[in-house]
Symmetry: C3
């Protein structure tokens, strides 16, 4: 049994299975008939990821526990491990964790006997975000083959950049980076292009948020950031007809993207968020099935008071 911690752990088949399960959840409401508790341990501010997980859990009929760091025993110096172990002891069936440390999972993964889902870790990994980006691309193009995906922004400090580049490459897409010189990450081996090249060749332009809260100050390379490196109205006009715009949010309007483009026709920014709920439902369901916490008999269609509608014939049976 494996936790859901990083893109590295997944094969392309694992990813496609999750995307197809997400699609099945978009098409038909289901719920888990067994009482299952998810503990959402978010140690960093989050609106969309945390709420998206909670909605995913509630759509599955799970019970959501929210952990508020401010009013918790972490204030008394309790370690992440002891906090996680406590939630396991009191009855959590799955943990969703967001943490500022890159390696938070190391001290947990071999000692916690319930599945752990990474809700965003430090600067390295955000695998459910990567999946929902992949989901949105798959929904749009039906394939990843020969799709040019340009990831633009603060590559160095973005957990999304690393996770996404790896996942999309595994899925067969061509991944490029574009960013201000200070934001390059020499450890990542993808071609760097300019923003002007990006809008010409990209089928998908994936913008990242400039992480103000991770920089003490803007360096010289971020002067005139929008004009030099952002998606301006002028650049958007040069994009391919069918090309789409993604952004994990929250958006810095007027920095990485012109405010008027956030909801333009080729933007899938809010569509991505909608997809995120279904992708997270798929991740949670898969983890619960893989760990034997539920079996398929516990999954039934909503709005049906009688049990027995086993979903053994659904495509995510494995």
């Amino acid at each position: 049994m494996k936790h859901f911690l990083s893109v590295q752990d997944m094969t392309a088949k694992d990813m496609i299975d999750l995307l197809e399960m997400a699609q099945s959840f978009r098409e038909e409401e289901i719920r888990i008939t067994k009482q299952v508790f998810a503990a959402n341990l978010f140690f960093e501010p989050s609106t969309r990821t945390k709420s998206s997980f909670i909605i995913a859990e509630k759509k599955l009929g799970m019970e959501s526990l929210e952990f508020n760091v401010e009013s918790s025993s972490m204030k008394k110096g309790e370690s992440l491990y002891d906090t996680a172990k406590t939630f396991e002891a009191i009855g959590a069936n799955v943990l969703v964790v967001r943490h500022e440390a890159d390696d938070w999972a190391n001290e947990l993964k071999d000692k916690i006997a319930i599945p752990i889902v990474n809700g965003g870790a430090g600067t390295k990994a955000h695998p459910t975000q990567s999946l929902l980006d992949a989901d949105t691309i798959y929904q749009e193009f039906g394939t990843f083959e020969n799709i040019n995906i340009v990831i633009a922004g603060d590559i160095k400090h973005s957990r999304v950049a690393k996770s996404n580049a790896e996942m999309l490459t595994k899925l067969g897409a061509n991944v490029y980076f574009t960013c201000a010189p200070d934001f390059q990450d020499k450890n990542l081996d993808y071609p760097y292009i300019t923003m002007d090249e990006a809008v010409e060749i990209g089928d998908v332009l994936m913008l990242l948020r400039i992480q103000h809260e991770r920089h003490n100050e803007f360096s010289s390379s971020t002067v005139n950031y929008h004009e030099n490196f952002g998606l301006t109205i002028e650049r958007e006009k040069r994009m391919k007809n069918h090309a789409i715009i993604l952004h994990p949010g929250p958006v810095n309007r007027g920095v990485e993207i012109d405010s008027d483009l956030v909801e333009c026709e080729r933007s899938r920014i809010f569509k991505q968020m909608s997809n995120g709920v279904f992708v997270r439902m798929a991740v949670l369901t898969t983890q619960l099935l893989n760990w034997g916490i539920i079996d398929e008999y516990h999954i039934e269609k909503r709005n049906n008071n009688c049990r027995g509608q086993s979903v053994s014939n659904m495509r995510f049976a494995n």
Copy 2:
């Protein structure tokens, strides 16, 4: 389709319909059989309004999402609009918003495609509070005609004063104000009387909280506030036999009202809070019905495992 934003938007008939639906909910427990998500976005401290909405939602069988500003992406500078749009995207079916700005709804109302319920805005509007006050008066007197209602306290800074005066006037009551000179609002056209006159003529004495947190300092007019402008034990004795006392809470005991009067026989202060839940159930249900998110088939009596008890014959069918 309209959001539920202000008293100005409502006719007297709209109000009475909501009061009658609230009454029906007091008499019989119901629940919505469809899964419906309410996102409660409270950008100001609140105990009773927020908890009242959440209880209303849970009594209706809805799913409640709580938004904690402290642990949210608002910390990363996200706008109210983007936050609201995010909750719409991830599956909220209705937004309940409390915000410190008078005009927060302006940037949302034409661009958010789900109903928005005003949970209290700046110094101007608090329409569900007005409704629950009206509900308590209607329950007591069965009418608003010829009822003298005196609103007492910090008229200038109270969103309740403005909303209530307008609603109760529309419903046919006679509205008066009484307050310390510094708390008068010249823009509101209602007769100002003294507290001593108020206790003589009022059928309803509606006290407001002195909003310490909105004043940098107490002005000279608030010296001896309780004796000069508050409801003292002596003044209460001069009230009409059938007259009642309202207060939206939280109460400053010993300031606007003597502590011993908070639960006196003519106080409806905690009764109001109870009523608030049913009024908010009515507002939420009406919004969901008006926007087509549910239809009457989705409303059934609680404690009944079989569906089919359509409420089409309930009085709030329209």
Copy 3:
């Protein structure tokens, strides 16, 4: 009708009844079919107690309301009484309260008409913690007669020490204290022994957390605390074969207990937390039954869509 406030209020029979109900809940999942609201008012940081209550409520099928002091009207100066009365008014059926004052319940207990459960008060009482400790001992030994229980740590500032000593004595166990000289409480009449004696005679070694947040500074008696007064690896080896280790958490690893012993074979530290959920289910259920908020007809086995499985023959019927 009584609130659940302190160990003093309980007879040995009350305690055993609760332990047996907890055991029945471990064996079979049940739920309350009536909609019942629990308001969890935690005025001090808490992970395990608060989450444990919320899980207990959800396992019972209750609705949990969480009260966040930071975003509440307590910021506007509202009293505990008014806050509690508000939750009663808006529909809470039971209050779970943790508060820093020893005597917080005094102003509530005669004026709040719904049951109040003490979730931990000041330095004096934490009766559900005591119950879960007793539950773990009862599960282990099947009796309290002739069981030597040594409570070790900051006796003076620990609400657990006082509650537990009283409860376990009532239940028939032999209770001892061991601690650094500064941590002794002269008002408690139990024999003080050394830690070296404790490991020799104890069947149960109940460690307490050093309450850093209640001390402004460590006194001289806490220098080399672990070596002088803590459970070292060396001391653990001298414990009786069947002896067990308890700790209410959160643990200060390396202070009151060596980090490697937290999950050693004789540790029941995480088992206790698991038990806590069932004990709290029993407390809540008993309060709801005693106050007539539910009757036994409202308790049914989970995973059974048909009602009618009255539990009148379950052992907690009284």
